[in-house]
Amino acid sequence: MHFVLTTEQQMLVQSARDYCTQYGASKIIREQMSGVGDYLRNNWDKMCQELGWQGILVPESCSGLELGIVELVLILEQIGSCLLPVPVMSTLGQYGMAIARLGDAQQQHAWLPDVAAGTTCGTLVWHPATKSEPNRWDTAVINATYCSTKTGFCLNGEYQYVLDGGQADNVVALARDVDSGELSAFVISLPCIGVDCVVQPMLDPTLNIYRMTLSEVMVPLSARLTFSSEEGIEALLLLSALYQTADQLGGIGKLLDTSVAYAQQREQFGRPISAFQAIQHKAADMLVQHETAITAVYAAACRADEYLAGAISLPRLKQAVSIAQATASEAYQHVASEAIQLHGAVGVTWEFDLHWYFKRAKISALLYGDSAYHYDYLAQTALTASDDIEGDIS
C-alpha cells in the first residue's frame, strides 16, 4: 500500500500537463470548435511523436510499454483538465484494451503493434441506439446481433455514443449471437461496406461523438476476438466508465484552480473577494469535492490494475467504478456550477471557458449512468452483504 503517486508517475503527470497546456489552451480548443474531429488526428500524431503514450497499455510482446490503468488515468486526467480532443480514451483505453484482453496472441500481433506505433486509431462500439432500459449501462442492454456465415460472421446493429468513431481506422464492435445471445467482440477495419458513421452533435461540442450503423457487415472468422466473454466485455465497459471519471477529475481540478485564481484577483468593496468568508467556504467545499473525487478515481484505477492482474473479482471492480463514477460526476457538477457562481456575471458568458466544463460535467454525469444509478447498485451490494451482520441498532 502506497496510495500516492510514485516519482515516475509524477513525471508522467508533469509531461502530460505540459503537453496539454501547450495544445489544449482554450484558444486552440475554440478554433477546433467548428469540427473537433478534424483536429483529432493532428493532436494524436503530435502526441505520439512527442510523448509516445500510444504504447502505454500495449503488451511488451507487441512493442508496447505495458504500463497500467493508473498511468492511463493520470494522462486522461490531464487531458480532461483542458478538454483536449485527442483519441487516447478511445484508441488506447477502449480499442487497444479490448484486443489486449480478449484477443489471442495472433490477433494481438495483428493489431496492437499499429496501436503502439501510433498509426492506428480505434474505438469501442457498444452502446445501442435504443435501449429497453434507458438508464442501464451494462452488457445486458447490448442488442446488436451477429450470425455465422460460411466465411465468418454477419453483423447488424445500430449504435450511438461512439467516441471518436469518425476518425477510427478500426473499431471493436460488440454484438450478440442472434440465436444463443452469446456476447462477442469483433474487429472491423474501416471503411467497410455496410458501416455508416455520422457525427452526433452534443450540447458540449468538445466531445467527439458518433452514431454508427452496421447493416449486413461481413467480417472474417479471425475478426471475432477469441476470448470474448460476458465478463471480459463487462470489464471493458467498466474501464470505459473509469476513463470518463479520470476526465472528470481533470476538469474538477482545473475549475478549482481557475476559480481560486479569479477570486484572489477580483476586487469588490476594496478587497479581493477571496477575503469574504462566503467565498472561502464555497472554495473550501470545491476543494473537498476535488479531494474526494481524487480518492475515488485513483482507488478505482488501482482496483482496475488489481482486476487485470487477477487479484480481485469483477464485482469488486464494479463497486469501485460505481463509487468513482457517482462521486466524480456529482463533484464535477457541483464544482462547475460553483465555478460559474464564483465568477459572477462573466461566468455565464460564452467568452469565458467555464461553460464548456459545465456542459461536459452534465454529459459525463449521465453517460455510463448517473449517480442515482450507481448509488442504487452500491445499496444493493450493501443489502446483499447484510444477511450475516451481527449486532442490532434498533
Binding site: 500500500m1 477571496s274 477575503a275 473550501a284 452500491l378 445499496a379 450493501a382 447484510s386 441498532i393
Partner: protein, 394 residues
C-alpha cells in the same frame, strides 16, 4: 500508486486476526461494539482490563519507537491493526488520547523525565489521559485561553487556575494536559505553556456535562490552584501553543483511524435494519444507503492517501486538511439514516431512565462530531486559507 497491501502485510493481517480470534472472546465478548461515543460509560473496568491485555500482548504503542517500549510498526501494519480491530467490533479505546496524542508529543518534544514518568503507564494501558484545551471563552477561538499558570519559586511547583470545558472522558481519566497562560500580560498565541497534571488532587473538580443523548462524555474541569512539578511543562513557558499544535498534528495520524473504521460496523447494522424494516425497498432510502457506502469507502481510502502522503511531505496535504470535515459530516449523515431506516418505531424508548438504542445514540451523538476538534466552519476556514492560500479573516 498501490492501494492493495503487500503479501507480507497481508500475512501480518492474518496474525492480527488470529490474535483477536483467540483473545477477543470469553469475558471480553460482551465488549463487542461497546464504548463508543454516547456509550462511553459502558463496561469501563472491563475495557480497562482489555486494554491491559492488549498491552501485555504487545498491541499498544504500535507507532512508538522501540527504545520507548513501542512496537515501531510500519504505517501499513498500524493501519491493518486498526482495520482488523474495527472489523471484529473491538470496544472503544479508553487509552487513545494518552497513547495516540500525549505519548507521541512527549516522545518528540518531552524530556527524559517526561518519558520515564509518563510513558510506561500509558503503554501498559493503566493511565488514561484527557485534553484540557477548550474554555468557556476559548472554543473555535482557542487562542483566547484565560487559564493562568504561576510558578511558585519556593515550592518549585506550577499552580494553575481556570476552567476547562468539553473535556472528553475526564471522569475516567488519571491525567490531563492543559494549555495555560504562563505570562499574565500575554495575549493570543504568545505566553502559553503546556502542562501535565495529575487529576487526583483536591484542587481539581470535574463536573459532568449531560448531553442530549442523556449521557455525559464531556466534562467541565475546574482548576483551583491545581499543581504540578516544575518539570511537568512540555517545552519552555511561552512555547505552549506550538506544543499544542504539534499534538493536534498527531490527531491527523493513524491513531484516530480505529474510530472511523468502526463507522463501517454501524453502517452494516444500519443496512441490516433497513432490510428488516423493509425501508430498503424505498428508492430514496436506497440512495442514501448507496451514498454512504461510497463515502465510507472514500473515507477509508482517503485516510490511506493522507497517511501515505504524510510519510513523504512535511506539509499537510490537502487530503489531510479535508479529512475531519469529511468524516464528521459523513458520520452525522449516518446517524440521521440510522433512525430513518427504523421509522418512528425506532424512536420509542422503554422508559426515560433506560439507555437509548444504538441508533438513537448515533443520531444524537453525531451532532457533536461536526463541532468538536474544529467545527465544520473552522475546517472550511482552514481549508480555504491554508489549502488555497486565501486571506486570513479578522
Amino acid at each position: 500508486m498501490k492501494l492493495a497491501f503487500s503479501a507480507a502485510d497481508e500475512a501480518f493481517r492474518d496474525t492480527i486476526q488470529q490474535w483477536l480470534g483467540a483473545h477477543f472472546v470469553g469475558p471480553y465478548a460482551e465488549l463487542r461494539y461497546r464504548g463508543y461515543p454516547g456509550d462511553e460509560d459502558a463496561f469501563v473496568p472491563q475495557r480497562k482490563a482489555w486494554e491491559q491485555l492488549l498491552a501485555r500482548e504487545g498491541w499498544t504503542g504500535l507507532s512508538w519507537p522501540k527504545h520507548h517500549g513501542g512496537q515501531a510498526l510500519t504505517l501499513e501494519q498500524q493501519v491493518l491493526f486498526y482495520e482488523e480491530y474495527a472489523r471484529v467490533g473491538g470496544p472503544g479505546r479508553l487509552g487513545h488520547i494518552g497513547e495516540g496524542l500525549v505519548a507521541p508529543t512527549l516522545i518528540d518534544l518531552g524530556t527524559p523525565y517526561h518519558h520515564e514518568r509518563y510513558l510506561p503507564s500509558i503503554l501498559a494501558g493503566q493511565a488514561l489521559w484527557c485534553q484540557g484545551y477548550s474554555e468557556p471563552n476559548a472554543g473555535s477561538d482557542l487562542a483566547n485561553i484565560q487559564t493562568k499558570a504561576e510558578f511558585d519559586p519556593v515550592r518549585q511547583r506550577w499552580r494553575l487556575t481556570g476552567q476547562k470545558v468539553w473535556t472528553s472522558l475526564a471522569h475516567h481519566s488519571d491525567y490531563i494536559f492543559v494549555l495555560a497562560r504562563t505570562d499574565r500580560h500575554s495575549t493570543r498565541h504568545q505566553g502559553l505553556g503546556f502542562f501535565l497534571l495529575d487529576l487526583d488532587q483536591p484542587n481539581i473538580h470535574i463536573q459532568p456535562i449531560k448531553q442530549m443523548a442523556g449521557t455525559a462524555e464531556f466534562n467541565e474541569v475546574f482548576l483551583d490552584g491545581a499543581e504540578c512539578n516544575a518539570a511537568d511543562i512540555v517545552g519552555e513557558p511561552g512555547q505552549g501553543w506550538s506544543v499544542a499544535m504539534a499534538l493536534l498534528g498527531y490527531e491527523r495520524g493513524v491513531s484516530t483511524l480505529g474510530q472511523q473504521m468502526q463507522f463501517s460496523n454501524e453502517f452494516a447494522q444500519l443496512v441490516a435494519a433497513a432490510q428488516a424494516s423493509k425501508r430498503a425497498e424505498e428508492p430514496v432510502i436506497r440512495q442514501r444507503i448507496g451514498r454512504l457506502a461510497a463515502q465510507l469507502d472514500i473515507m477509508r481510502n482517503s485516510a490511506l492517501r493522507m497517511l501515505s502522503g504524510l510519510a513523504n511531505h512535511a506539509e499537510l496535504s490537502r487530503a489531510a486538511l479535508v479529512f475531519k470535515l469529511y468524516w464528521a459530516t459523513l458520520h452525522r449523515d449516518l446517524g440521521e439514516l440510522a433512525v430513518d431506516v427504523l421509522g418512528v418505531d425506532g424512536l420509542q424508548v422503554p422508559s426515560q431512565d433506560e439507555p437509548l438504542s444504538p441508533a438513537q445514540r448515533l443520531f444524537l451523538f453525531t451532532r457533536a462530531d461536526t463541532i468538536y476538534a474544529g467545527t465544520n466552519e473552522i475546517q472550511r476556514n482552514i481549508i480555504a486559507q491554508r489549502g488555497l492560500g486565501m486571506p486570513k479573516m479578522r
